[in-house]
Symmetry: C2
Subunit: 201 residues, 2 copies
Amino acid sequence: MQLSKSTTAGERDRRCSTVRYRANEEIYTQGGKTDRLYRLREGAVRSARFNSEGRRQVGNFYYPGDVFGLETEPEHQYGVEALTDCVVESISSSSGSEDEIATLAEVTRQQLRKVSEHLVLLGRKTAREKVALFLLSYAARNPDADVELPMNRQDIADYLGLSVETVSRTLTLLQEESVVAFPAARRFRVTRWDVLQRMAT
Amino acid sequence: MQLSKSTTAGERDRRCSTVRYRANEEIYTQGGKTDRLYRLREGAVRSARFNSEGRRQVGNFYYPGDVFGLETEPEHQYGVEALTDCVVESISSSSGSEDEIATLAEVTRQQLRKVSEHLVLLGRKTAREKVALFLLSYAARNPDADVELPMNRQDIADYLGLSVETVSRTLTLLQEESVVAFPAARRFRVTRWDVLQRMAT
DNA sequence: CGCAGGATTGAAGGTGATCAAAGCATGTGG
DNA sequence: CCACATGCTTTGATCACCTTCAATCCTGCG
């Protein structure tokens, strides 16, 4: 998958293109055709689906280097929106050379890994375990300094299958127990890795 | 993946083999090396993992024709056990011709689909929704006659992230509402598809 | 400085977990 | 063939946790 052959914006129908999105902009819609693959260059995005009662389930968060847009059905089960301003490359997924197919398998594998991790998260019983595991896996990308969260509480809640309030309360508790510190709502640092790890088990 | 080149039992270290397992027998262990792929010929199996507190999470149920054993990590995150007596073919997954790799991609895709469906299930909020969706997707394989469940209540509970008692109570309710009928604990028939479908959304 | 959306906190209620016991089915041995 | 043992399922009672609804508090930004 040669996502690096970037062209200018506005050529979405071409084989390969690079497009910028502003925060909260939609990259593709739930229900649309699954005919393209996307690689995130800069920023962060979120995939989410709405069930018929209007409840939202966040599928995944993607970060620079991640490929998204791969699904097993011909129509997108999840829509994707930009969490922050971001730069996205995309190609038509039907334009397959042998080389690309080989990488497609790798992308599928990556996606399977992501979904499997999410499954473990949702399988956890208590809110503490879920939140702890979420913070842990997010903080892992930056073990030393403070980490900036691109998503809001609602996104986290819908990702973990919890209510916003429960997420908020749990974060407050973890702070009171000095397990994590939140200098701002969207920025945190793990202060007690051992405790957090034990919680998430 | 030529899982059809069966040989006799007892040649597990060979390239391809067919083995019979009795109900409750272990096919492979959580933590073992992920070096083989399995195709279920007859019977039903269950994949499950234990977290460090001893809680069990059922990953999936597999039925004749399904391929299992594919995982993204070098060590099995899930162990697999026979639910009923069954016949299993397996091959070394490292013995890859081009042809086999092409099919490996397809297996990965199938697995991704299964895991994604499970994710939707676990994302559901209420026990009713979960149980309804489980029955629905299981009954889909046999729309007319009664369906025999190869797994017990505990398996269902661990698959849905619920307690056995909640599963049992929910099934009782669904029976009282004449949505499903259980002539025996392990055999059921959907009597009101529309209602069940609406529950599962 | 003031506004708006997000985040937090509070109170009340519901839903599912847990603990405990009883009911059923299957299989074994007397 | 019946009695009993065993394991699975169901039911009951209580409790903890999470959700919901509501209000207040931030904080980032114009």
